[in-house]
Subunit: 479 residues, 2 copies
Amino acid sequence: MSSAPKSAAIIGGGVIGGGWAARFLLNGWNVRVFDPDPEASRKISTVLDNARRSLPALYDRLLPPEGRISYHEALSDALDGVDWIQESVPERLDIKHEIHANINTHAPEVAIIASSTSGFKPSELNTNGQRIIVAHPFNPVYLLPLVELVGDPDHCARASMVLNALGMYPLMVRKEIDAHIADRLLEAVWREGLWLIKDGICTTKELDDAICMGFGLRWAQMGLFETYRIAGGEAGMRHFLAQFGPALKWPWTKLMDVPEFTESLVDLISDQSDAQSGHLSIRQLEHLRDDNLVGMMRSLKKSQSGAGATLSTHEQTLKLPKSHDLPITVSRAIPQSWTDYNGHMNEAHFLEAASLATDQFMEMIGAGPDYVAAGYSYFTVENHIRYLTELHSGDRIFITTQVLQGKGRKLHLFHSIIGPNGDIAATVETLLVHMNLTTRKSALPSAEIEEKLKSIANAHAAYPMPDGAGRHVGQARTA
Amino acid sequence: MSSAPKSAAIIGGGVIGGGWAARFLLNGWNVRVFDPDPEASRKISTVLDNARRSLPALYDRLLPPEGRISYHEALSDALDGVDWIQESVPERLDIKHEIHANINTHAPEVAIIASSTSGFKPSELNTNGQRIIVAHPFNPVYLLPLVELVGDPDHCARASMVLNALGMYPLMVRKEIDAHIADRLLEAVWREGLWLIKDGICTTKELDDAICMGFGLRWAQMGLFETYRIAGGEAGMRHFLAQFGPALKWPWTKLMDVPEFTESLVDLISDQSDAQSGHLSIRQLEHLRDDNLVGMMRSLKKSQSGAGATLSTHEQTLKLPKSHDLPITVSRAIPQSWTDYNGHMNEAHFLEAASLATDQFMEMIGAGPDYVAAGYSYFTVENHIRYLTELHSGDRIFITTQVLQGKGRKLHLFHSIIGPNGDIAATVETLLVHMNLTTRKSALPSAEIEEKLKSIANAHAAYPMPDGAGRHVGQARTA
C-alpha cells in the first residue's frame, strides 16, 4: 500500500455506516459519505464523538492523525478515487440491488465494494454479475473487531488486509448462508429468549443477568467450543460430547430442529477442537480463562456493570484487620494482572496499592467520596517509592500508613508495603495538598478534618521517622 | 447469622462440586465432602488450587481466612451440623432421587438443601415431598457470580442471603422450566452451532472467534436486551422490535419453532426494557458500554486472548513520533479507566505511563523482552514523581526520556510527561539496577548495552539537569 492517505466511501450513514466511518477516519483514512437523509451528518457526528472518546483509549500508542470526512450529494462524487466502498443501507434486497447497480457504474475499478448486510448472501446481492462482497461488522463498529467476510476469495483476501490494518478481525465464512455465522447464533438466543419472556419465566433484566453474570463473561475471552473443551476436563472434547450430546433430545429449548448427533459429527468436532486448543493442556486453558475472568471483572468494577457490581458489593463486606500499631490501610492479594514480563509485580502497581491506602486513610479522616462530592479533596503532588523486595502474583500484602505531617493544606504520609514474609517490600512517601474542587486551587480542609488529622499526627509522632523518608532518588543508603 | 464459622456439605466432588467447595472454603466456611470416588480429593484439590490463584486476586481486600476442608466416608458424617448442603451428583433423576432421600434422612433441619442440577425442575426432584431447591451455578463456580435459584420461595430467599455473602449473584427463576434460563440460551446456541459445524460453514475455532471477537464482549457487561435497546437508538426498544421482529420469519437459524410476535409481546418486552434501562439515556448506555469494552479488551491484551490479541497486533503497527530532541518514549491517549473519583487521571497511572516509557527505553538500548528472556533485566529500585497539572480522560500525552546517568549497574532516567497543552504534567525520576534474573542479584549489563547507554548518556549530557531532579518529597521549590 502507498503512504498517501487512503479513502473510503460510506454509503448509508446510520449506526453501522457511522461506525465504519469512525473506524476508517480514526485510523487515518479520508471518509466520503453519501446518504440522502438530511440528518446523516448529525447522526454520524454522534457516532464519531463516541468513537473519539473510546477507540484511542484502547491503545497504549497514539493512532495516526485522523483523516478528513466529507459529505456528498451525488453518489458518483462520494465514490471518486476511493479504495473501499462500504454499503450500509436498509436490509431490503430491492434497495440493495438498486444502490449496488449505481455503485457499480461509478466505482473505481480497484476499489473493494462491501456490503454490511447481516442477512443476505453474496449470491443474492450479485444476481446482476456484480463484485460485491459481504463485510458484516458488529456494533459498535469502531470498537468490536469482528467482521464476517463472505464472497469472492480474492476480493475477501484483499479486504482482509485492509481490515487488519484497521485493527479489525476479518473472519472468512467458508460457505455462504443466510445471516452468516454470528447472527445465526444470536438469532437462536433471541428466539429462545422471546419464549422465556413470553412464558413469564423471566423479565428482560433477569434474562440479561443470566447472560452477563455467567456465560457472557466466558464468551468475551473464549468461545463456545473452547469453553466446553475445558468442561470436558482432561478427558477432552470427546468426553464432553458424550456427556452432553443426549441433551439434544431433551426439551432444553423450544427450538427442536436439531442435527443428528452421529459419530462422524463427534469426530469432526473433536478433531477441530484439538486443532484449535490442543497446544494447551486443560490446566493451562483453565489458568488462562481464570486470569481473563479476573481481569475483566476487575475492569467492570469501576463502572459497576454486571459482575463488577456484585464484586464491589461483596468487597465492601470485607473488613481490614484492626491494628493497635500504625493503621492498616490495605490488606490484599496480588492479582496476576499486576505482574509484568520480569515475572514480578510491576512498579506502577506498588503505587496503585499505595493509592488505595491513601484512599482508605481519606475514609478514616472523613475525606472520602462524600467529602469529594461536597467539593473538596486531597490531591497527591509528590510520591517517592523505594522498591526493596520483589512481590509476585498471589502474594498477600498489607500496608501501614504513618502521618509524618498533617497541618494546614499539606498532608505528608508514609506507606510501608509489607510482603508475605513480614519484610518491607516497598515504601511510598506521599505528599498531598487539600483542594477546592470548584476553583481547582489549594484550600484549607474543614475544621473536623483538621482536628482528626491533628490527633492522628500526634499519636504517630510517637513513632520514629521511618527509614527512607525525606530521601532523594539515588541517595546513598548510609547518607 | 452467628459469627462462628459456618459449614457446608459438598455431595459429589467433580468440577462443579469442587467449585462450590472452593467458593465456600475461600469465604471462610468449613467444607465437608462426601464422594465415593477415590479420586475425589485429588480432583477437588485441583479445583481448589485454581481457585486459590484467582479468587483472592479479584478483590482489593483480603478474603477471610480459609475454612477447613474434610472428607467423609459416610454421608451422615458429612452432613453433621452443616448449614448448607450442595448436591452435585451426575445428571440422572434416579441417582438424584436416591441421594436426596438419604440427605433428607440425615440433614440438619435448618440446613438449606440445594441441587446443582442444570436440567431438572424442583417438582421433578421433590416427588417424594422433599424440600430441595435448585441452585444452579456456572463453571468456574469460584469466579462466576451467577446462581439460578428455583423452588420454594422461602428457602430460595434464605439461600439468596447466603449466596450474596459468598460474592455470588442469585437469580430467582419465576417459574420452573427444564434447564432454567441460561442453559436454555446456551442450548439454543449449541444446537445452531452444531448445524454450522456439520454443514461446513465454519470450524469450531471460527465459530468461537465469531463469538469472542464480537457479541461475547458485549454480553460480558450487558445482556441481549440492553444491547438491543442501544441498537434501537433514541427511538428505543419498540423501534428495535419493529425493525428486527420480521427476522423471526426468515431462515436465519435452523431453529424455526418461534413464538408469535404479537403486539402484547412487543408491549411486554418494551415495558420490561424501560424498567430495566430507562433511567439511562441511549447516550449514557453507549458510553457505559464503550468504557466497559475498552476496559475488558485492554485487560485481555496481556494474555493475548481473543480481541486482546487483535489489539496487540494492531498496536505494534502504531509508530512513536521521531524526535530530534530527547527521545519520545510514549505517545498515547488517556483511557477512561485511568481516572478516579477526583475526575482526573489517578496518581498510579502516571507511573504506569512512565513505566511504559521505561519499557520503550529498554527496547531502544536492546534490553527488551528478548534480553529478559536471555536472563537479564533492569529492575526499578526508586521512583520520584511530581504531579504538576491534572490530566483527564481522552487527553493526549507524550513522554520524553533523559538519561541522567548510565554507567555500570545503575541507570538513572528522567521522564517528562507532556500534557495536551505542551505543559509538563508530571515528572518521573527513576533509578534502575541491572539484574541477573537467575541469581536475582545485581550484575553488569552486556558490553553492547553499556556501549549504547554510554552514547545516549553522552548525547543527553548536552541537556541541562531537569528541574525537579535530585529532590526529596516536600522540598521547597526554591531550594
